[in-house]
Amino acid sequence: MDFGFTKEEDAFRQEIREFLRTELDPDFKGRTPLERFSREFTRKVAKKGWLGVGWPKEYGGLGRPHTEQLVYSEEMMYSSAPAGAHILAQNMVGPSLVRVGTEEQKKEYLPKILRGEQVWCLGYTEPNAGTDLAACQTSAVLDGDEWVINGQKMFTSFAEHADYAWMTVKTDPDAPKRHRGISMFIVDMKTPGITVGSMDSMFDYPLYEVFFDNVRVPKSAVVGELNHGWNYLTTALDHERVFMGGCVAQHRRVFEQMVEYAKTHYRNGKLITEDPIIRQRLAQLAIDLQVGRLFAYRVAWIVGKGVVPFAEASMTKIFTSELEQRLANTAMQILGLHGPLIEGAHAPFDGYMAWEYKFSLMQAVGGGSNEIERILIAIAGLGLPRP
């Protein structure tokens, strides 16, 4: 065994850090929707070739090994670099297209994704298809040479900015098993009949709804084979989970900030770090962060061997998202009465921890709720019988 990084990996890490030092404002916090979504930043990352850091070379990627993808993910996450304009295309749409897209689709979309010119959103969730994505009701019916889409998607991240949607549609309502009647479509978001609405979230991010009213798309919108969408969806979700494991680096940074705060602030006349309970809580978070980091390494290692780490990726996602909640809670605990302050002279970290406390709910719900992820581990990973 060897848990070390090679010289090349260390050099790559330095290169990314240098890039981020140059490109990100020193005051950058990565908290507001604007900070998290920047086409300009995405194009700069694209110029470095990093949007295809792990994609195969024949499709314009760098074909870097998974350990270097991990390094890339860790550094980007650590600095909360704005990834909104490329994250889904880079981690889900692109790799899925490489695997199952038609030659035409690969030629059409991959180069533009690599140049950072296309923003994508994922249309999976619907009002009645949350955890149960196979309950998808948005339908596509063939009419002449075109598919006609009707229905609604919900909680569609980046929908307002997206050029394309990668989405599930029901193409065979009579399929004996409902997931066999689902196809994956690529839909131009400028197509007539699409409207995007939004709901406010408690953490300042809009949560989007997308309505499809007789939206006509060409036959070439079908990804891979008709009625094979469920397959593509589950493998794409897997990429998402791998990526989410890298989030632990972002949490490490919040943790480091809290340690620094505890070392320099007083409560009841004593340094916060003198409180034995706070010491225990922070130490436990240090333990948890190490666990999360090693999970991410393990997932990258398994992927690197050409195996799909279903259960390991679910495990990483569950652990990291729940770690985020514990971290946010401990951070608020350390800040005490100052914790809930959102802004102003008395708000530590400009209210970042107060925001994180609210935002930390999201990952446990998104990308497959932790409850269903645990069941996936039990069934797919441990061989327990289906309910």
């Binding site: 065994m1 039990a378 061989g383």
Partner: protein, 377 residues
């Protein structure tokens, strides 16, 4: 990065697993819990013949000269099978400090005997104050004539009742810090003035009270330098702690495997209970916890094997695994229901040992405090 075991390590693992399944059935484990000695001389001899006691010792001392990672893999299998006996105390607590700090003469005298299984060793470290740190050492060694005289009481000394030699951690002066003034001695366990008594524990792990009354040791049995012995204890502790973690991971793996097998076959309400979501969630949580334990244990073992500084990693690893082993064995019993509470069921063997293992060389609160100091709090 390479997160796989080598082919040789996989082979060592499967050899150990097969051997222990055959030679150390749970019936033997139970029998030895009530046995006065607590180990089977026959099994001990067979393990020695496989070279296990000298696995990491150099060839010149009749060892196999394999690496620390190999030892970890072996101990993990022993934990999976809860092998009773003095392997841990003899190899980890007895031979390692000699390997780290012994003179050539001491190595020549003691290590081949450990490797062959002829001599059993242990370390007399903790005392009635039950502290893990150097400041807790009060047993005194005073210079007298050509050697030293030891007085005081050691407690929780594993397998002292069957040991031939004790690595005794003593205080030779009141230093400016707890660490200053600690000296180690290799003490013949049959020396006049030593009284040893086994204390009953929930893990039947043969912890002893060892009373030293004017016990003399010759100068040449001092291990390391006068007053400067704590660093040997610290280095040995790091290795022993991670080996203990390996044992705990092995135990947790066994408890998890037993649980997965059981919930697949146990039927209630006309279905295997493993199809119920509550049980599935428990199993997913147990599996996650064991995975975390294994990752941490291997990473820290790798660091130690590479000679890298690992104080924080050791504390992180033991801190997590302490809780994980208890959690997994507790959930395992819960998934089994009342049958898991019976003495005849194997789960209790693991559950009882999980608590004892936590307390060995630092419980969770202690480890967290070490982590806190390491991150600069």
């Amino acid at each position: 990065m390479d997160l796989d075991l080598t082919e040789e390590q996989e082979m060592l693992r499967s050899t150990a697993r097969d051997f222990l399944a055959k030679e150390c059935p749970k019936s033997l484990v139970r029998e030895l819990e009530d046995d006065e000695k607590g180990y089977s001389p026959e099994l001990w001899r067979k393990m020695a013949e496989l070279g296990w006691m000298g696995l990491v010792l150099p060839e010149e001392y009749d060892g196999m000269e394999m690496g620390f990672m190999d030892l970890i893999i072996l101990v993990q299998e022993m934990g999976r099978n809860i092998v009773p006996g003095p392997f841990f105390s003899s190899v980890l607590l007895g031979s390692l400090p000699i390997l780290f700090a012994g003179t050539n003469e001491q190595k020549k005298e003691f290590l081949p005997k450990v490797a062959s299984g002829e001599a059993i060793m242990t370390m007399a470290l903790t005392e009635p104050n039950a502290r893990y740190d150097a400041a807790g050492i009060t047993v005194k060694a005073s210079a007298q004539g050509d050697g030293f005289v030891i007085n005081g009481t050691k407690l929780f000394v594993e397998n002292a009742h069957i040991a031939d030699y004790l690595v005794c951690v003593t205080r030779t002066k009141e230093g400016s810090t707890g660490e200053d003034g600690i000296t180690l001695f290799l003490v013949d366990a049959k020396s006049p003035g030593i009284k040893c008594e086994v204390m009953p524990t929930i893990a039947d792990d043969k912890l002893c009270e060892v009373v030293f009354e004017n016990v003399t040791v010759p100068q040449q049995n001092m291990l390391g330098d006068l007053h400067d012995g704590w660093q040997i204890v610290a280095k040995t502790s790091q290795h022993a702690t991670i080996a203990k973690c390996a044992e705990m991971v092995g135990g947790a793996e066994a408890a998890l495997d037993m649980t997965l097998a059981y919930v697949k076959e146990r039927v209630q309400y006309g279905k295997p209970i493993g199809s119920f979501q509550a049980i599935q969630h428990y199993c997913a949580n147990m599996w996650t916890s064991v995975n975390a334990s294994r990752n941490l244990m291997y990473k820290t073992a790798w660091k130690l094997a590479e000679g890298l500084p690992a104080t924080e990693d050791v504390a992180i690893t033991k801190g997590w695994i302490n809780e994980s082993y208890k959690f997994v064995t507790e959930r395992a019993v819960q998934c089994h229901g009342a049958i898991g509470l019976t003495r005849d069921h194997d789960l209790g063997l693991f559950y009882r040992r999980a608590k004892a293992a936590e307390l060995f060389l630092g419980d969770t609160d202690f480890q967290r405090e070490v982590v806190a100091q390491q991150i600069g709090l």
